[in-house]
């Protein structure tokens, strides 16, 4: 039995310590992703907290055929979708207001790193494709897992990952050109 399996078994018995240790390795990575998706820093924290609580509460339903990180992302995506759903009457929800100056992602990137590619990705890709790119290139998830997580077909996932790559490559080349011009 691997260490992770042992921690999952202990957490299923109710051990908070085991659960904290189990999610400890995923917590910051997940929070980093939530910062790219949530309207504000506080929302990202709230979603992370809800995700952890839901994961602990429903750990008994965790199926070991999934990677634990994939299961956590599934819960996080459900929670983030809940705060981003527009009201039926079209009114602006308080969550849509976000941070006053820029999103949480801008705040968490140093000023010297303003050409961070994820900022460009946020600008040119839609939410779903952005998520697919993140899961593929940051979390190293398989295309099959991403498709299952997003409730999309494998072919849809492959095609959109390919298109997103092209868009980001173009953005990257453009930024490199701009930088080289600036330095003569």
């Amino acid at each position: 039995m691997s260490n992770e399996s042992a921690l999952i078994a202990a957490a299923k018995q109710g051990s908070v310590g085991a659960f904290t240790e189990l999610v400890g390795g995923y917590r910051e990575g997940l929070f980093r992703f939530l910062l790219t998706r949530a309207p504000s820093y506080a929302d990202a924290e709230d979603v992370l907290q809800d995700t952890m609580i839901n994961a602990y509460r429903y750990l008994h339903s965790y199926d070991a055929k999934w990677r634990f990180s994939t299961w956590l992302y599934r819960i996080a995506l459900n929670n983030i979708a809940r705060i981003r759903v527009p009201a039926p009457d079209g009114s602006v929800d308080v969550y849509d207001l976000g941070d006053e100056e820029g999103g949480p992602l801008e705040k968490c990137i140093a000023a010297s790193e303003i050409q961070n590619l994820w900022l460009s990705a946020q600008r040119v890709l839609n939410d779903e494709v952005f998520t697919a790119m993140w899961l593929r290139y940051v979390e190293d998830m398989s295309v099959n897992d991403i498709a299952a997580l997003l409730d999309r077909s494998i072919s849809w996932t492959k095609v959109n990952l390919m298109r997103a790559r092209k868009q980001l490559e173009s953005e990257l080349n453009q930024s490199l050109k701009t930088t080289s011009k600036a330095y003569g």
């Binding site: 109710g14 908070v16 659960f19 904290t20 917590r27 910051e28 990575g29 929070f31 980093r32 910062l35 790219t36 924290e45 992370l48 907290q49 952890m52 609580i53 602990y56 509460r57 992602l105 968490c108 990137i109 140093a110 790193e113 961070n116 590619l117 994820w118 990705a121 790119m133 993140w134 290139y137 940051v138 790559r165 980001l168 490559e169 990257l172």
Partner: protein
């Protein structure tokens, strides 16, 4: 790993996602709360001495009640088994109005039918009178 994938990975690492100690504490407290919801607290185990003490206290209290009740009932009154009849009799008014029958039922029926015929005749006469009094309609 190609250039784009490498850059995406590096740029993700540049996002500061460190959690504040306050947030970590908040998270830990939330999980503790959920943990308490999941496992309701079991009643604390009591020692054998506690059970002996409580049993003896119960027996002593029972004996005290028996002794006190026997001492206070030296001249007990006989218990009443039936309630007094007057207690209920006064609650009901049995007086009823008697029916006023001056003739036999058959004669009463004949008299009522006669009254009905008279009333019918009066109504017909009234209707005829109204029709006669109406002004003629304009052509």
């Amino acid at each position: 790993m190609d250039k784009l994938a490498k850059r995406l990975r590096e740029d993700a690492d540049k996002i500061d996602a460190s959690l504040s100690p306050q947030f970590k504490e908040r998270l830990r407290a939330s999980l503790e709360n959920v943990s308490q919801e999941r496992t309701p607290a079991a009643p604390a185990r009591q020692s054998a001495g506690f059970w002996w003490a409580s049993s003896l206290t119960g027996i002593a209290a029972t004996l005290a009640v028996i002794v006190i009740s026997n001492l206070s009932l030296e001249n007990p009154e006989p218990a009443r088994t039936e309630p007094p009849a007057q207690q209920f009799a006064a609650q009901f008014d049995w007086r009823l109005q008697p029916a006023v029958l001056t003739q036999t039922l058959e004669q009463e029926l004949v008299a009522i039918q006669s009254d009905l015929r008279k009333a019918e005749r009066v109504v017909r006469d009234d209707i005829d009178q109204i029709v006669v009094d109406l002004p003629p309609e304009n052509p």
